[in-house]
């Protein structure tokens, strides 16, 4: 009864005060790096570990200004609200100087207003949403502490158009497609770009677009609807639970070729996760990727990684593991020049960072950034603070933005496009006539 309890309310008021005062105290010695991202996904863990290796190396070399670099992490659970809480935690409880993000697009969009508020230098290694680059263009002063260390969706789509023109249209002779995309910011953005570019540039007509929920477990009606459109192939855009859709594609033996973007297929664990039921699909992949030949410096990073983490998932870093590793190196190089992570001075220095990784005497990978106002020739627009990508062959201005990789039915992988990086051929599954 209320009465019984409220009688003793007096003592209780004191208790609440005590509880509230037992607060975590913040300390601000040395430099602190915060990681924000999903700690239960392979891609999130890749970024977490990539950054950890870079920080270990920096600390072994004396840390920053003689102080060891501290590394704290906060889980977003791939949930927008949790992401906001996690960012607040890093900014206010841990008072970090720099944040490395392994968040998906929607989560990044959730915490971005908080980043603008706290003005903490932040580097995204996974999110590729072009809308965020647009925000940097529109509100440079507010967004200038933000950097994106992965090629944006637009670069992704452009490369795909080239692949469509060269391989799908010219080589395979296909001229119609049905787009199957998940209902996320990523799915919507890629779909827009593919639909607007694929038709005019490669002569492939979009017959239908099917949107599905990321929690879908049974794809048979969706695949049937796709097959019913009579299109020559299916273009899939999937970043969440992608194993499900591709394993069902194989299980149901959908009689159409399927290519597109399948984020799960970017990792070595894909084969294990699908239980070998994921062959026959190809996907666009940021570099470096499965099936991608590595330059010696990146190979060394991979060796360290597999020695340290080789017995737990992901055993081999995903693309954003590389991005996080090189991104931390760049962020600290910039901080050295800027004298710390000042929100005004640091971005200036970060923009100057440009790591060129060579293999066999030519540029193989490049970690640099587009400057504000610098126009990319082919799309005719600017990409301030986005990783410097090159979407025009022969890619001697840097690395390709993306490659297309193929999973064969026997579980082997290869890069199939562009030709400079190719190690294999495009293939359709055996059950497709």
């Amino acid at each position: 009864m209320p009465n019984k309890i409220t009688k003793k309310l007096k003592r209780f008021a004191c208790l609440i005060a005590v509880t509230a005062f037992t607060a975590s105290s913040a300390y601000a010695d040395g430099v602190k790096v915060g990681f924000i991202g999903s700690l239960s996904s392979d891609a999130g863990l890749s970024a977490l570990r990539g950054a950890q290796i870079a920080i270990d190396e920096l600390n072994a070399a004396g840390g920053f200004n003689g102080e060891p670099i501290e590394y704290v992490k906060a889980d977003t659970r791939e949930d927008v609200t949790e992401g906001i809480k996690a960012y607040e935690y890093l900014a206010e409880s841990e008072e970090v100087d720099f944040i490395l993000s392994g968040s998906i697009d929607d989560v990044s969009l959730g915490w971005l207003p908080r980043m603008k508020e706290f003005r903490i230098p932040t580097l995204d290694t996974w999110t590729s949403y072009i809308g965020i680059i647009d925000m940097v263009i529109e509100d440079y002063e507010g967004m200038k502490t933000y950097f994106m260390n992965v090629a944006s969706d637009e670069a992704l789509a452009t490369l795909y158009v080239d692949f469509g023109r060269d391989i799908l249209a010219k080589k395979m002779g296909w001229d119609s497609v049905v787009i199957l995309h998940e209902d996320t910011a990523f799915g919507g953005a890629i779909n827009g770009l593919v639909s607007e570019l694929l038709a005019p540039e490669s002569g492939i007509e979009v017959l239908d677009t099917i949107v599905y929920d990321t929690a879908t477990v049974d794809f048979s009606p969706i695949f049937n609807r796709a097959v019913d459109t009579g299109a020559d192939f299916i273009y899939l855009i999937s970043s969440v639970n992608s194993q499900v859709v591709s394993s069902q594609y194989t299980k149901l033996q959908v009689p159409k070729a399927m290519t597109g973007v399948n984020v799960a297929a970017l990792g070595q664990e894909y084969w294990e996760d699908t239980g070998g039921e994921g062959g026959g699909i190809s996907t666009l992949s940021p570099v470096p990727s499965v099936g991608f030949a590595l330059d010696p410096a990146s190979q060394e990073f991979v060796n360290t990684y597999t020695a340290k983490y080789g017995d737990s998932r992901p055993r081999f870093p995903h693309f954003n593991g590389f991005n996080a590793y090189w991104g931390i190196k760049q962020a600290f190089a910039a901080a050295k020049d800027a004298g710390g992570f000042d929100p005004d001075a640091w971005p200036q220095e970060m923009l100057k960072q440009d790591i060129k990784l060579e293999k066999d005497g030519e540029i193989w990978l490049r970690y640099g950034f587009w400057q504000p106002g610098e126009v990319e020739e082919r799309t005719g627009r600017t990409y301030p603070h986005n990783i410097k990508f090159d979407i025009t062959p022969p890619y001697d201005n840097g690395a390709p933005s993306m490659v297309v990789i193929q999973w064969y039915e026997n579980g082997e992988t290869a890069v199939i496009y562009p030709p400079k990086y190719a190690t294999g051929e495009f293939a359709v599954p055996s059950w497709v006539k």
Partner: protein, 318 residues
């Protein structure tokens, strides 16, 4: 005004004074944690007014909070309506809309009521995605929604003011004969009817009060977060946190849900450095389960009982 009331008002004043001075003593990170605790307390009080008192367990509170949050978010984000207008409209929509939806359910008893409200939450999850996704943002929701104020301290004061206003209003309301009648329904609904009271009317009033608070809390919550997505809102974990806050603190009181919300939020944040992931819910849930199984009256009673025991031990020794 009777003497005990004066005493309680004094206690409220002390509590408010302590909370108002809090930003002077704790870090901003702790304040952010307490902001979430404040919102959770609002939702838990809202749940408790209906379910804690009358014993009609609502599993559909995220549905009500969702109406409030989505209405205000859509009006301000899509139609550029000022927040001063969108929040009252959202509260009105929640109270009226929620009542229309739940009206048939209020005639059901016990588990059936719980089931139907659970179904409402699922329904809302589906509807938000399907109906007018151009307005609701579909599965991915909306972000970049206008916020009322910036910074931890400002938001702390705002959320605390809202929470404490709701808490005191509900405390005053529940001290009236209306509050007694609601508790009586929880003990024996037939005897309430047998005392010449329309239980349907009482339950409806309790429900509308509950929906009003849920709508108010939901609308302010969305303008604090600045983003909204159906998966985070119409989620079993969210529902669980609301209900457990009310129960772990002590149902059918006002201090219970407030304390429960603070306890759970602080526990969850305290676990973050040790277990950063969803694994926290394993510990969190286990504590909730154990407390609930062994002390269904809640932690407030548990703490007070322990203090009493300690006091008697000390006094018997000296």
């Amino acid at each position: 005004m009777t003497n005990p009331t004066k005493k309680y008002l004094l206690l409220w004043a002390i509590f408010i004074a302590v909370m108002l001075l809090l930003p002077e003593f704790v870090s901003k990170g702790t304040l952010r944690t307490i902001i979430f605790a404040n919102f959770l307390a609002i939702f838990a009080i809202s749940w408790d007014v209906l379910s804690g008192r009358t014993g009609y367990i609502s599993f559909g509170h995220p549905f009500l909070i969702g109406i409030g949050a989505y209405t205000s978010a859509i009006l301000s984000y899509r139609f550029d309506m000022p927040i001063e207008l969108s929040i009252p409209l959202a509260v009105l929509t929640t109270t009226i809309g929620g009542t229309l939806f739940f009206l048939p359910a209020l005639r059901l008893k016990g588990s059936y009521f719980a089931l139907v409200t659970l179904a409402f939450m699922e329904l809302m999850y589906q509807l938000v995605q399907v109906i007018r996704p151009d307005l609701t943002g579909g599965t991915r929701g909306m972000s970049g929604i206008e916020t009322i104020t910036r910074g931890a301290v400002n938001n702390y004061y705002l959320s605390f003011a809202l929470m404490v206003t709701i808490a005191i209003s509900m405390w005053l309301l529940m001290r009236t004969r209306f509050g007694s009648a609601l508790s009586a329904i929880g003990m024996n609904e037939e005897s309430v009817r047998g005392s010449g009271l329309s239980t349907t009317k009482l339950k409806l009033a309790a429900f509308m009060t509950s929906a009003f608070i849920a709508g108010l809390g939901g609308a302010f919550y969305v303008h604090y977060l600045g983003s909204i997505a159906p998966r985070a809102l119409f989620d079993i974990n969210f529902l669980f946190t609301i209900i457990v806050s009310a129960l772990i603190g002590g149902a059918a009181t006002i201090i219970g849900p407030m304390f429960g919300a603070l306890f759970l939020t602080i526990l969850l944040e305290a676990l973050r450095p040790i277990l950063p992931g969803v694994e926290r819910y394993l510990i969190y849930g286990s504590i909730a389960l154990i407390v609930y199984m062994f002390k269904p009256q809640g932690l407030v009673v548990l703490v007070l009982d322990t203090l009493d025991k300690l006091r008697s031990i000390i006094s018997s020794r000296s």
